[in-house]
């Protein structure tokens, strides 16, 4: 399979703007490992460009950032990129959807349609953030608690590990953060993150072949 990764990272609202910036360390890791990166950033995260790249480049790994629901994942301005009616022009090895709910129906359907492995969330993916960091989300220590562990999914896959080990490594890292949040030395802001991080730990799912690599 190709050493190509496709990343969608719209930035049309506060949530997607955080995901946009938090995808940059993943891009840096992919560059370091000499991947070809198809970066559908900002308004390039549209359906036409997405499917054009799928057809012409056939990326082995697709990393989607954006709003989602049980049946669809969207891009810039919430334009639907992929839904339960979509026909993929080939079978990608791995899809990771950092978006809400898509593990419930869409992820399962994509596996049935030939995707080898899908990682996503079977209910709302949530994170807390401090608005004073809106201009530089990567510096937000509260958002970091939630988003840094999710970056371990794509970076672990890029480093050649299996999709399931990437999923587990991310969950373990979330749990490590979770355990630290419960300590008495944590700030009130950090402690409040615990219940919501616990939700992300429990709703992150892996579907398909656990041994899938790119």
């Amino acid at each position: 399979m190709s050493k190509i990764i496709l990343i969608t990272r719209p930035n049309h609202d506060l949530t997607t703007n955080y995901l946009y910036f938090w995808s940059e360390p993943v891009i840096a890791t992919a560059k370091k490992h000499r991947f070809t990166i198809l970066d559908l950033a900002k308004n390039k995260a549209n359906r036409k460009t997405f499917f054009s790249y799928l057809k012409s480049k056939k990326p082995a790994f697709i990393f989607l950032n954006g709003h989602g629901s049980k049946k669809e994942i969207s891009g810039y301005d919430n334009e639907v990129l992929i839904n339960t009616n979509s026909s993929l022009p080939y079978s990608p090895s791995i899809i990771y959807a950092r978006s809400c709910d898509s593990g419930q129906i869409l992820g399962k359907l994509l596996i049935q349609k030939g995707v080898n492995a899908f990682i996503g969330y079977n209910r709302k993916f949530v994170f807390l953030y401090d608005p004073i960091y809106n201009a530089k989300p990567q510096k937000d220590p509260i958002a970091k608690i939630f988003l840094e562990p999710t970056n371990l999914i794509p970076t672990t896959i890029i480093k050649g590990h299996s999709s399931y080990s990437a999923h587990k490594r991310s969950q373990e890292n979330m749990h490590k953060n979770f355990s630290q949040l419960l300590l008495s030395s944590s700030s009130s802001e950090e402690k409040y993150c615990a219940s919501l991080l616990w939700s992300n730990i429990k709703c992150q799912i892996h579907l398909g072949n656990p041994d899938t690599k790119i």
Binding site: T15, P131, E189
Partner: protein
């Protein structure tokens, strides 16, 4: 839980949990982000956002009580 109506007791419990949320933070959930006050309104109304938030808080408290958060693998 999301299919159920939030009972008054659940609402009280979840609102009490919300009261300890630092006011400077916002929560990204679904396609929007919410302040503490906005979350309070959603919980009181018992709408989808309120129910999603309640589900997360109740699950956390339940798992804390059962000890399953310490047995996670």
């Amino acid at each position: 839980m999301t299919e159920e109506i939030l009972t008054e007791n659940i609402k009280k419990l979840v609102l009490a949990r919300l009261m300890i949320m630092p006011s400077n933070l916002r929560l990204s959930i679904g396609s929007k982000d919410y302040t503490k006050e906005e979350l309070q309104n959603h919980i009181e109304k018992g709408d989808e956002v309120g129910k999603e938030f309640a589900e997360m808080q109740i699950e956390f408290l339940r798992d804390l009580a059962s000890g399953s958060i310490y047995q996670y693998e």
